[in-house]
């Protein structure tokens, strides 16, 4: 008996690094299981979605109909997730997400076939909102690219931050130069800023933030901006900046220590939360298959998945009724490790067993 | 007198359509030769093939004894051929003055060499319009510019393809006079022009082309005398 998994990830264009991390994490999980998840010979068909929703959909159809995969996994971006979600769950194929967690899927449109080892999109932003509130910041500027995830992030941040938002800045997607925004920040002198600037935008912003002399003066809170995918480029300029994350390489549990060590050994670079999520996805599938005794009984497998029978690299991990994780969320900080690599490090735990905001809308139990 | 340009058995085509079927003629140093023939007979094509602007299928082109067959056209021009092309082909995005100096050269140290001043002296109209873009010139002005541009390369052999098209009678006459003067200075010239009468007094020899072949060659006197050639090939 064998197992075929279709793994969809963005592997081209500037955000390819996220997809590559996620894929590498997943493949590491498969490899550690000796190439046999749940004891089944596992074949992973990795497919590049090119960040084109309609193209991704075609590829998913191919995986479902032609390659007849048993399961689907992966997906970095929400817009791709939304495009492929319907055909996957309609075909009653189990999907184990490893990053994107858009709110409709957590809420109204939730499905018994969908599981994710990452988070609901808002979570890490919420953590920073809470952190800002706890830190006593009264006036803040928030900044995100002008697209749906950006707006969601700011909504998430505001959920727990009750102080004044002096300015909400929406930048262009893929923006290069932030001098205009930095000037605004310098002029408004907020207590702190919160930004969501994934990928290259984050690199540009972090560098320019430091160059404009703001780094030491206005605390920099972020999500998906300062992590192991961008630190190789920002290096020292990012050290000390804060981010919200549900995982960091230094989380103190055995599974994580083993993961980080073997990941760096295998690929030669530091894993980010994308890699951790990918890895957990493979481990989750492994655990559930073992528990259900194979892939044949789908109902049993789904029931098994729901129980999250695996050691997450996050330690404390369980599924909510909408199949999104209930997990702890931290504030992490960028640091330079002794070996010269730049990584994130936990500073404090903001939420214990955080539940996402949309689970109430999901009519599944 | 030494042979300057020799064309032997030149064949050329556009795509599948053969246009030249073994053109052969020669020009001696200091000679003025014309290519004559009706529209579409291959005069321009001959010139293009000699200049290396289209590839010849067969045949030889020699200049001062050196073979130029297959050479790129800049080499051929550098060997001393200066072209006034059909249809002017001045550079539209260059000013008049730039058109003249851009490709200007005096490769052989010609004694009374053509300079900007001399060209302007010859075509005062160009001096007036020196700062205008090439495509802002009138048709005749463009023609003057094309001639001036070729002269500025100080060639050993000047090739004029319909160089007086669209020029006013006065200017046209001045050009004939100028060519005569150049000839006296020893300049070799190959002319294509429909003004057979003017050419008869200017040129030493005439080459009549029909359907891509040379059908008649001879001196001006012979041409004048041979009414049948004039009638058959030139409809004069």
């Amino acid at each position: 008996e064998s197992l075929k998994i279709g793994f969809l990830a963005t592997l081209s264009g500037p955000p390819a690094v996220l997809g590559i991390q996620m894929r590498d994490g997943f493949l590491l999980g498969v490899k550690e299981a000796g190439g046999k998840l749940g004891g089944l010979d596992t074949e992973v068909l990795v497919v590049d979605d090119e960040l084109k929703p309609d193209g991704a959909l075609t590829k998913v159809r191919g995986l479902l109909e032609r390659d007849k995969v048993d399961m689907m996994a992966g997906v970095v971006f929400s817009n791709v997730m939304m495009a492929v979600y319907k055909p996957i769950v309609r075909s009653e194929t189990i999907f184990v997400g490893a990053n994107a967690g858009p709110s409709p899927i957590a809420g109204k449109a939730c499905s018994p076939y969908f599981f994710t080892t990452s988070y609901q999109n808002d979570q890490n932003h919420e953590a920073m909102g809470k952190h800002a509130e706890d830190a006593g910041y009264k006036r803040m500027i928030v900044m995100a690219p002008n697209y749906q995830a950006g707006k969601d992030s700011i909504a998430g941040f505001k959920r727990h931050f009750k102080g004044e938002i002096v300015d909400e800045i929406y930048t262009k997607l893929g923006q290069l130069d932030f001098s205009s925004e930095l000037t605004k920040i310098a002029a408004a002198k907020p207590d702190a800023v919160f930004v969501f600037m994934p990928g290259g935008m984050g690199v540009n912003l972090v560098k320019q933030y430091a160059q404009a002399g703001l780094a030491g003066n206005v605390p920099f809170l972020s999500a998906f901006t300062v992590d192991e995918t961008t630190l190789p480029a920002t290096k020292d300029t990012a050290v000390g900046l804060l981010a919200g994350a549900q995982w960091a390489p230094d989380l103190d549990n055995a599974a994580n220590k083993a993961f980080v060590a073997s990941f760096e050994e295998e690929y030669g670079y530091a894993p980010s939360l994308y890699a951790a999520q990918g890895y957990d996805a493979a481990r989750l599938i492994d655990g559930a298959l073992k528990k259900a005794g194979g892939k044949e009984d789908k109902a049993a497998l789904m029931a098994a998945l729901k129980e999250a029978p695996f050691e997450s690299v996050r330690g404390d991990f369980s599924f909510n009724t909408n199949h999104f994780p209930i997990q702890d969320v931290y504030v992490v900080k960028a640091v330079k490790r002794e070996d010269g690599k730049f990584v994130t490090q936990t500073v404090e735990k903001v939420f214990d067993d955080k539940v996402d905001a949309y689970v109430g809308e999901c009519r599944m139990n | 007198m030494s042979v300057l340009l020799e064309v032997e058995g030149l064949e050329a085509s556009y795509g599948a359509a053969r246009v030249l079927f073994g053109m052969s003629f020669a020009i001696d140093a200091g000679e003025v030769v014309t290519l004559m023939g009706r529209n579409g007979m291959g005069k321009t094509t001959t010139i293009r093939a000699v200049m290396g602007m289209i590839a010849a299928d067969a045949g030889e082109v020699r200049f001062e004894g050196q073979s130029l067959t297959g050479a790129p056209s800049y080499r051929i021009a550098q060997a001393g051929l200066g072209l006034v092309p059909e249809g002017r082909q001045i550079f539209p995005t260059l000013t008049v003055e730039e058109n003249l100096v851009a490709t200007g050269a005096n490769r052989f140290g010609a004694a009374p060499c053509w300079t900007l001043e001399r060209v302007y002296g010859f075509f005062p109209r160009l001096r007036e319009r020196r700062a205008n873009m090439g495509n802002q010139l009138s048709g005749g002005e463009q023609q003057m510019l094309a001639i001036g541009r070729a002269l500025m390369t100080n060639p050993k052999l000047l090739i004029l393809d319909e160089a007086t098209e669209g020029l006013a009678p006065l200017i046209r006459r001045e050009i004939w006079e100028c060519l005569a003067r150049l000839k006296r200075e020893g300049q070799s010239i190959l002319v294509v022009d429909k003004n057979v009468d003017a050419l008869e007094s200017l040129a030493d020899r005439h080459v009549v082309v029909e359907k891509g072949r040379v059908v008649w060659t001879g001196s001006s006197a012979e041409l004048k005398a041979d009414a049948s050639v004039r009638e058959r090939y030139l409809s004069v």
């Binding site: - | 529209n39 006013a168 009678p169 006459r173």
Partner: protein, 251 residues
């Protein structure tokens, strides 16, 4: 006296300090061939451009067929019966010679918002086109893409297109330039044949053709008309000789 078909009053235009047409007054009578001659750069092509509508005038009025067309765009003037040929050949190089002329015929028939019938099979257009090509000695070239015709043939095609619009007034900008002896003779013959049918404004440096064809000649020098008259009068004028003709007029 009959009303002129074309009348220019005070037409002028300048590029910076250069007065290309300087208060030109000129008329063309029905059926007449009126030649405009003058040195290079005198403004003849500019004048044709202004009459045809390709260039705007700085001032003055152009009256065509009783209507003030000064402000009308080029295509409307063409539709009203003003057709021009170009000094620098302006043909459609990818079209065959036949298609070039057929398009002119199609334009003459009126609007072309017709999506249904295959125009290549339109007998009326094709035959009409071939007739004009025949008149100009291009019948054997009907299927040749215009772009690869020889220079002289292109010039003839240029004229065929203009003629095919069957205008009331034909503006000819150096139709003989670049054509060989034989073709020039043929053109003179064709134009002579059309004389009386169309009025023509002829710009030409080939004095043989001008004197053979023109009923009246105007001489344009530096944008100004310095003389208008019959061929004989012009030939006699010392001023014209000095400015333009040189010996040739006398010949």
């Amino acid at each position: 006296m009959t009303e002129p078909i074309l009348r220019l009053q005070d037409v002028h235009k300048a590029y910076g300090a250069l007065k290309v047409t300087d208060h030109v007054n000129l008329d063309v009578r029905p059926g007449e061939i009126h030649a405009v001659i003058g040195p290079n750069g005198a403004g003849k092509t500019t004048l044709i451009g202004q009459i045809s509508g390709a260039l705007a005038v700085d001032g003055g009025t152009i009256t065509f067929d009783g209507q003030d067309v000064t402000a009308k765009p080029m295509h409307l003037r063409a539709r009203a019966g003003l057709s021009r040929s170009f000094q620098i050949t302006e043909i459609l190089p990818e079209f065959t010679a036949r298609e070039n002329v057929a398009l002119a015929l199609q334009a003459r028939q009126g609007h072309s918002f017709r999506f249904i019938r295959n125009v290549a099979r339109d007998r009326a257009l094709n035959e009409g086109a071939e007739r004009w090509l025949g008149e100009l000695g291009l019948a054997h070239r009907a299927d040749t893409p215009a772009g690869i015709l020889s220079h002289g043939e292109k010039r003839a095609l240029e004229l065929a297109i203009s003629l095919a619009t069957e205008p009331k007034l034909l503006l000819l900008d150096e139709p003989m330039a670049g054509t060989g002896r034989e073709e020039t003779d043929r053109l003179v013959e064709v134009l002579t044949g059309l004389k009386g049918r169309y009025a023509m404004l002829l710009v030409e440096h080939d004095m043989g053709a001008v004197f053979a064809l023109a009923d009246r000649i105007s001489v344009l020098v530096y944008g100004r008309i310095i003389a208008t008259g019959t061929p004989e009068e012009i030939r006699e004028s010392a001023e014209v000789r000095e400015a333009y003709l040189g010996e040739e007029g006398a010949a």
